[in-house]
Structures are given as structure tokens and as C-alpha cells.
Symmetry: D2
């Protein structure tokens, strides 16, 4: 951390700053410029707050050198983290695809879609039991009944379950049924939920918030790791910008940026990221070409009857075409596209 003072700061002011620095266990180093005086701090600066210094009258600006996050960073762990679930490996040179409907609507619907996906070799099945919705009057999910159906899918089809925990109250129930617990974009800074997610023994897929910077996302992941759960997947799903043609602006820049900063696997959700089904295949390819470790894609057997997000869901048939293209793309970006089941028909 470096503090900048006016060159004409009084000796007393400088002393005050030096004392403050020392009181926080750090060492001040003075350096005089032509316009300003800089005081560089060494020592345990990571936990310092810029604002602690900004209030000293003489300090004009504070610049931080060290990163605020630790456990999620490549500095803490250089090699890629690999998350293992029942023989399946996520991260590293593996390309993983999670698929399924936005929300659980009925037992039949769930088995129909899951059955199609299993035939295509997809083992990670997503479907929402609890749905956070902007409107209190919109469909909020089948809740516990939905979880039951998911448990059946797991038991009868051998699929692995990815489903969202929308609050601390239901996190326990969700964690019991699911193999990966999803935390949604609107909950990315629900710190109480993050802390509890850090205490469960299931991997967490953490979605980037609509206005969260990359650093914010990493800090939220840090909350989970800080509680002892190191199995976190980060997921880019589009940010909110001025562009209104698409539902969100998928920020694929985030993929290579996070891959460099952190050892955690990075997934992309092209369905929410663009929000228009016929453009989801293009964005799926783009995400993997940028270096994503996986995708989470909405698939629905009857998109035009879906209770939510039908407009951004692929039919199984269109989804299969994406998988086929991804199989060709994977080796070019040095990935192994391993599905969890053997592919029955192609």
C-alpha cells in the first residue's frame, strides 16, 4: 500500500501518518517526488482498509499493491483445482457440460428431459426446485416436492444433481440432494448464505452477480473457501449493461482473466448470458474457445410450455448439435470433453 501526501505536508502531518502506519503493524518508507510525497507501507497490509488513511488530512490518495483475496488466488495454489464427484473430474484439462431445464415442473417433465440427456452422455443434471423470481406473483418452483423428484432422478438414472440453494433455510435440504449446490447471481453477495455454503461438504457453483466485478466474484468465493470448502466453481453468466437487445452481456473476457488469477474452475452459462435460444450454440462455442472449463446450459423438451426461461432453452435435438460441435472444439483448446455416461446414440 502506498500513501500520497502533498509535498508541502507539514512535518507534523508526516509524523502522524508514520505513527498511524506503525500502529497498524506496518513500516513506512518515505519517497519524495516533485509534486507529491509517497509513503510506501510494508508489512501486513492485506487487511488494511484504504479508508483508514484517507481520513488523515494530509493523505490525498491511497494505492493498494497486494490483492485482497488469498485462498482463491494462484499465489495461494498455482496448479488448477480439480473437483472430483463420484469419478467425474471438473477443472484442469476437462471440459464439462451441465444441462437441464430452468425449473422443475413435474416428475414426468424431469424424467423426460433427464432421459434424453443421459442418452447424450450428460451426467450432470440441473433443474431448479427453488426459483428466485423478480416478481412475487411469478412461479417460485416446486420446492421440497422438486427436491424429491431430483432425488429420484439421481437414484433411478444415476445422474449427478446441480440445483440452486436460494436461502440459508433450505440450504441443508438442497445440499442433501445435490452433488453441486448452485448459488445464483442475485445471491452472490448474500454473505450469510456464502458462509453456510462454506460449511457444507458439497461443491458449490457460484454465479457472478449482475453488477459484480471480477474481483467481487473472487471475494465472494473467498468467503466459501475461508470456511473450509475449497470445491468452488465460478460461473460467468452475463452482466448488466446498457445493451438491451440481449438479456445480459456475457463477459467472456472474464474467462481468461479469472483463469490467470485463480486456480478454481471457470464455467459459463450461455443461456442466461445471451438469453435467446437460437444464439446459445454460438455463445457455447465462444465460451469454450475462450478457455472455459465447462458450460451450464438450459435444455427443455418443450420450451414453449416451460414455466420459466423457455425462451432461452434449447431442445434436446438442438442441444445435441452443440455437443457434437463441442467435441470437435475441445481438442483444439487442449481439453478432454468427457461426458459422465457413455454416449448411446449419435
Amino acid at each position: 500500500m502506498i500513501l500520497f501526501l502533498k509535498l508541502d505536508a507539514s512535518e507534523k502531518d508526516v509524523e502522524k501518518v508514520k505513527e498511524k502506519v506503525a500502529s497498524l503493524g506496518c513500516t513506512p518508507h518515505l519517497i519524495y517526488g516533485t509534486e507529491k510525497l509517497a509513503i510506501a507501507l510494508t508489512g501486513p497490509t492485506t487487511s488494511l482498509d484504504e479508508e483508514e488513511f484517507l481520513l488523515l488530512d494530509s493523505v490525498q490518495e491511497v494505492l493498494r499493491i497486494s490483492k485482497k483475496y488469498k485462498l482463491v488466488s494462484r499465489e495461494a495454489k498455482n496448479e488448477d483445482s480439480i473437483i472430483k464427484i463420484d469419478g467425474l473430474e471438473i477443472g484442469g484439462d476437462n471440459l464439462t457440460v451441465i444441462a437441464g431445464p430452468c425449473s422443475i415442473e413435474s416428475r414426468q417433465q424431469l424424467f423426460d428431459i433427464a432421459g434424453s440427456l443421459k442418452e447424450m452422455g450428460i451426467r450432470l443434471f440441473r433443474a431448479g426446485a427453488y426459483k428466485p423470481r423478480t416478481s412475487p406473483y411469478a412461479f417460485q418452483g416446486l420446492k421440497e416436492k422438486g427436491l424429491e423428484y431430483l432425488a429420484d432422478i439421481k437414484k433411478e438414472l444415476g445422474m449427478l444433481i446441480v440445483t440452486e440453494a436460494k436461502d440459508t433455510e433450505t440450504l441443508g435440504l438442497v445440499a442433501e440432494v445435490s452433488d453441486i449446490v448452485q448459488i445464483g447471481a442475485r445471491n452472490m453477495q448474500n454473505f450469510s448464505l456464502l458462509e453456510k455454503a462454506g460449511c457444507i461438504e458439497k461443491p458449490v457453483l457460484l454465479k457472478r452477480g449482475l453488477s459484480a466485478s471480477i474481483e467481487d466474484l473472487l471475494m465472494s468465493a473467498e468467503y466459501i473457501l475461508a470456511q473450509g470448502n475449497f470445491d468452488v466453481i465460478l460461473c460467468e453468466r452475463g452482466i448488466r449493461t446498457f445493451e438491451t437487445y440481449t438479456r445480459n452481456t456475457l463477459d467472456l473476457n472474464a474467462v481468461p482473466v479469472i483463469k490467470k488469477l485463480s486456480h478454481l474452475p471457470v464455467f459459463v452459462d450461455p443461456s442466461h448470458g445471451i438469453g435467446i435460444w437460437d444464439k446459445v450454440p454460438a455463445m457455447s462455442m465462444g465460451a469454450v474457445a475462450c478457455g472455459a472449463d465447462g458450460l451450464i446450459i438450459e435444455v427443455h423438451n418443450k420450451p414453449n410450455e416451460a414455466l420459466s426461461d423457455g425462451f432461452q432453452s434449447l431442445t434436446p435435438k438442438n442441444f445435441e448439435k452443440v455437443l457434437s460441435k463441442l467435441s470437435q472444439l475441445a481438442p483444439i483448446v487442449d481439453k478432454k470433453f468427457v461426458r459422465g455416461f457413455e454416449v448411446k446414440s449419435c
Copy 2:
């Protein structure tokens, strides 16, 4: 709601759309243009989802005419809502100022600041016991101990308490101590928390999320009203944009916009809205001149020792100057600036 089809949509397609509309209890009305065929829907369209129609092959675009929110709207209640707390009135032609430190640091700090504020006639005292922080390593508040101090402030000084509930677990405790329960920007779409806040018997101050549209904010308030709690104050506190000089971009446009759409009182938080203490007075004046019903301002007796947000906090002395200016401004915008206590010294 109006659906747009290609003019060359087959008769069968049009029939399909008409059936779907009818199945949802609405009536379809056809109108032929030179490029497109429009089907206008009448009936209970408020609960319909645009996406239900977008999936029909022939439907190209869906436009909504009715608003999605009801209870918060001027259509539901035309006159301004006035919230009454122990003789104090918020909303209507009242101008109200809430003040206090960002977080509770000690009993002494709290009483020092509250004492100064009481002398200035401020009765609504804000201070955070539970602090949602971006970093897991930052100060998270004194929690229950903080609530205790707030209870003491209330008892000994007669002040009314405004403090944040950061999760459903602690909402009950917070509601017990506080006169207004604050829900923070990062929790604006924590729907479980909103629903529970709709069941308590205390007014709620709901802050706009960093990337929440005005409609999103109204929908979140709708969650609270839908549960039966009609005492909601909306609070503009800055949105996230590309501008980095200021902490947030205070969107004062939101004030006259919301005042027209909704009967609920609208407050502004200039401290977070600009994030630089010496510019908080200017933005306080601006907010009230735009029509805000109240302000929530951070005041700290020793900003340079504050554990959080010191950089945006006013000293009691500077705050007093703001109050004096607000007193002059209020009548010009047809407001009564009533403080909760008589002003002792000025």
C-alpha cells in the same frame, strides 16, 4: 400484452396462438399491418410471462402494456403513504433525516454520536450491528452486542433506531430493537429476506441494488407489501456504472420517477451515493431539491478512526451545516423539515 407475428404466419399458426391465449383466460384481438400481424390480449394479463408466447414459432415479439407491480403503484393507492412511528411522520410533505455512523464500534462511540445528533434534533438514529462486507476478512460488526447498545440508545436517549437486517436468521432480533429495519443494496433481491420482512410489524427501508432498475426496486418492494407490510420506504443509494471517480453514481432521476409511479416515501443516501464526504452536503441538497422525502446520512465523530466508511462520513459539525441548509431548502420544495426532537443549540 400484444404479440407480433409475421404477416405470412400460417392460419394454423395463428390458430395455435389464439388457443394458447384462450387457455390462459385471455381474449385475442387480431390486427393486420403491412409488415406484421398483431394480436392484442385483453383479460388477466398481469400474471402472464412474455416468454410463454415467445416460444410459439410464429410469435416474433411480445409487448407488455400493464405494469407488473400492483400494490406499490399509484394505481393501487393514489395518495402518498405516510408512515407513523411514535408520533413521527414519514412521507407526504414531511422531510425526514436519518443519521448516524456506518457501524457500531463501541458503546462510547455510539453514545457520543447519538448525543450530538439528539442535540441537533435528529431522532432517527442509524448504526449497523451486522455489516455485510465484500471481504470475509473485513470487520463484520459487533452483532448482538451492537443491538444491545442500540437498545440502550433508544431507552436512554429516546431515539428511534434504524439498523440493517442482513439475513433471515437475525431479522427477528433486529426487528425487536429497531423502529425501522433496513435492507441493504446487496440484499435487495434476497427474496426470502423480503418475504420475511413483509411479515414483521416494523417499517422497512429498502435500498436499491447496485444494478437494480427502478422497476426491479418496485418489484422487490411489492414482495414486502404482498405479505401485508405496507410501511416501506424506498431508498436510492447509487448504482454501478463505468464512472470510477465516485464510489457509485447517485441516480437522482429515480426520485421524481418513483414519486410518480408509487405512493411510497422515497429517501436518498448521499453518503454511499457519492462516497466522498466533502461532496455529501451538495448531494444532500440535490436530493431534497429533486423531491426526496428524506435522507439517510453517515455521521461519525471521528471519521478517521471509523472501522468502515469513514471516508464518506460527515463530522457532527459538518452535518449541522447541512441541516441548516436543508431547513432553508425545505419550504421551497413544499416540505416541512420536522426533526423528532426540539433543536437545542444552533
Copy 3:
């Protein structure tokens, strides 16, 4: 400027950096931290580019201490700049209001509106002869014919003219007729136009671009001052954000921020800033309460027949109400609201 290197940078790397610094006429100062090595630069650093250093293998980060702009800054000139036009003073403790229609539609329309405004004491009259429009098929202004009408207004009514120069080709013509030349938001970084505007002998009102940061705006003003024209008025007119309810997001934070950084007068355009006529009065009051030196407001005698921007224009009657409120507000924010003519009827 400070460069940050890894602590394990080789001696050779460090030497290379020091040489580069010296070759640019600056002096390097080394300071060792626990994680990084910082090299502070003193000397003529303002003209340096951060990127020149980022390419050296060992340099991880570059931080700038000095500002990039000079002439527009308070460091260059501490007291407020006051622009004088035919006895009228803009800036300092003066509150100035510019008003008129978006575009010139006919001689009659122009004289009708100007006449009404003159009666209210408004001397600075705005109206566009050249209109930059998003669509090539939209009304592009009366061009030279419009300038003629403006010249007539000036001659016959004694008003001062504010009108937009949309390109270098017509800047000369525009500058001849007008007393203040306006440069529009979409041209804020049309550097060729800025340079030429720096060579004319008329004041320039420079509008902030839709995605321009405050620093960008100041840099664009710097282009004009650097050519010798110091009479520049900066104008906040709304930025582009995710909020779609309003036409733009008026960033009133920019007012106190720029007032502190620069000596130039700061105006606000509430008409474009919110884009909805019935909310323009609220935002006008807000802007002045935040410290703006002036306003530029769209007024049209028949908004529903206007060829452009009718939806955000006030009628003369509604505008008069705003003026009356501004007269009351001005003294509270230590401004003198001086109109250019005596007010005939109020």
C-alpha cells in the same frame, strides 16, 4: 508514477527499468516491500504513458500520481473562471439559465419562443440549426437557413445565441452567429472538432459524452484550452447506464466533483438528463442545489408539434414556474440568479 516489480526481479531487470526511466528524463527511486519492489519516478512524468512500462517483463503494475490534464485543473488556476459575454457573467457565484427549443423549425416558431423567453428575462437562447441524429432518415435541422433565423433573433431581440457546431466544416459559420458554441455529447471526443473549437474566439459549451468519464470530459476540455481558448463551459447531460426508464442517467455527482477538480463553470442539461418533461423541473432544482453554475433547458411553445425532443421540452408556462423556484433556491446555495434582461411579467 510508480512501477511495481516482483521482489524476485533479477538485478538485470531492475537495471533495465532504471535505464528506461532515465531515458525518459525521469529519476527512479527504489523501495523494497515484502511482496513487491516499487520504483517511484520523479521528473516530467505527466507526458509518460503507463503502457511504456507495462511491457518491460518485470513490471507488473503502473500507478500514476499526477493528473493527465493541466490547464483545466484547479492546480493551474485556483479561482473560478468567469466567462463574460456582452456584460453577462457566467461562472463564479452567478446562476445562468440557457433556454430554447431543441431545433429550429421555422422563423415563426423561433420568434414565438424567443419572445416568451425574453419576457421572462432569459437572454441566452438555444436552438439547433444542425442536428446530429441517430437515424439518417430523421430531420437533420434547417442548417444555414436556421443560422439566418438565429442571427435575426440576435439582431431584433438582443438575445445571445447558443447553438451546436456538429462538424469542422460548419464550425466557422456557427461561430460567426453564436455567442456560445455548443459541442454535443456524441462529438465530445471528436478531437479535430475540439482542436478547431480551441482556435475560435467564442466560448464553448462542451457536453459530456454518453460513456465519458469525468476525466475524459476534462481531457476533452483540455484539447480546447491547449489551443488557446480558455472560455469553456462543461455540461453534464446524463450518461448511459442499464436504467431504461429514463432517457439517460443524469450524473449529478459530477457537479461537485468537477467543481473541485476544475476552475471551469459546470452546467447541467436536465432535459436530456432525464428525458421526460414533467420531471425536468425536479432535476433542474436538483442540479442547482448540487452546485451547478447554470442550466440549459429545452422549451417549446408547442411540444406536441416539435420535430425533435418534444417529449422532454417544457412549455413556456411550465418553464416560468421553474424559474420562479430557481430564484428562491439560488441564494440558499450562494448564487445570484441574474437573468440577462429585466423580467417583464411575473
Copy 4:
């Protein structure tokens, strides 16, 4: 276009609206809902302005059905436009790569880089003679001298030249030397420049503005086509958002969106789009996987000595690796990666 009125609009109001509609050559169609009255317009609505109706007291909302742009749309021309330059084809199923330094620094530098690129088979060479810079004190390009060097490159190496025209004054000179004239992001709404670019006989590469919506970009292209120049390439180069880690937010969503709306070729500039050289290869791959017709990439032989944009430039060696990956990727997305020259060494 559809207008919405309150159901209780008086008969007189409705008549007024119908007259206005008729006066504009359109036909009004009334449709009564439960909450509102809709009036659908048929006829020549494309040139209508929403605002013309919003001012009628009774009209609450206006919705547009037809698009504002015509010539650039797939409706006007369904098949992909292919631009032919001296035997080279751009658009359709061709994948094209433009490369070169940000700015021309010297004859030697230019020939060194162009020589390396020619060996890799790159025929479209980019380099800036006129550089629009945020700061008036930054390097503004070699100007005419730079154009001379480019002419030499063309003559001696047989390369095709892509260079930026920054104003109408120099457009003629630039068009003479170049095979594709580039219009930069900050000039995307410099309508005078667009109009003149519509009159030259060279293809134009039009970059998306920092805060331009996809529709804005298409409207700006419409300006060029409307003047008779149909050879326009659209270029996504990153928009401005709240994310500060990257220079811009590359909006790859724009690629499939524009490909569907328009017949014009779509390029991507990953160098400006992310702004960090070591992540340019990832974003290049992502762009092509999303369906881009081409890329424009900054390449510099000595990035650490570059006078501008060195930090985002690839060395020829790193660029060659990208080309090799693109060759593998192209067939998977049904593109032919044809370079303009035969590849000499690989």
C-alpha cells in the same frame, strides 16, 4: 407502431390521435383492452418518431414494431454480403484476419512488422497514421508521412492497407492510400464523417462506439449505405461497463445478434476488446467460435517500445500461434481461413 391510451380517454382525444395518424399518411386501427385502448398504425411508420405521439395528452406509451434501419437489414438483403478487394473475399464463409501495429512509428518499424506478417500469409495490414487520443499531449500519429509509408508497403510488399480516417478533412487522403477505411469507436456517431464515408469508393470498417447499442451501430452503418456505399464491415471492439480489470468489455453476444439482423460482415477486435496482450489469443478464438467473419489484431515487433497500445499488442511469434489455432478452428465453425498470401514458413 402502436399507441396506448387510457381507456377513459375522451372521444375527442381519440379523434385527435386518429387525425394526427392520418396526417402522417398512416391508418389507425382501434382495439379496446380492459385497462387501455391501443391504436395500431399501419402504413409508412418507419420514418415516424415515437415522440410525435407522446406529446398528445392522451397517449401514454408508444411501441414500435418495424425496425428503424432498412438497408443494412436481412429484410433488405437476405444473403451475406461479400466484399471483394483485389481478389480477396470478406464475409460469407470466409474467415479474414487483419493485423498490424496500432500506430505507424517509422518506416523501418512498419516494414519489419509487415514483412513478418506477409510471411505468415497476412495480406490485410493495419496501422494508424492519424491517431485520435484522449489526451492532447499524447502522440497523435505521423499523419501524412505515415500515409506515405503505407503507400510504400502496398507498392513494395503487395499488402492491402487498413487505416483510420479520423476526420472529414483527411478522409480523402486516407481513402486514396487505403483498401479499407477504418472509422474508430469515438467517431461512430460522427455523422458528417459517416456521410462522407458513404461517398467514397472504398470499403469501410466501422467500429462500435463505447456506449453504442447494437441498434446504434446498425443505424450508423445505415448512414454509410444510405449514401451508396454498401461495402461496410461492422466491428465489435468492446463496450464500456463497470468492469475495470479489462480495458473494455468485449460483447461477443453482438456477433450472433448482428449476424442475424444484418447481411454485413462482422469483425471483432480482441486487442481493444480486452486490452491485455496475453489474453488476446483466448478472445480471438472465442470471437471466431461465436461466428465472427474476421478479426483485427494488433501486432508489434517490439511491444515494449510501442508508442501506443503496446500492452495489448502481440509479438509476431505469439500472433503466429494464434493463426495456427484459428486454422484448426475455422472448419469447425464452417469457415474457410484464407490468408491473402501463401504462407511461407510455419
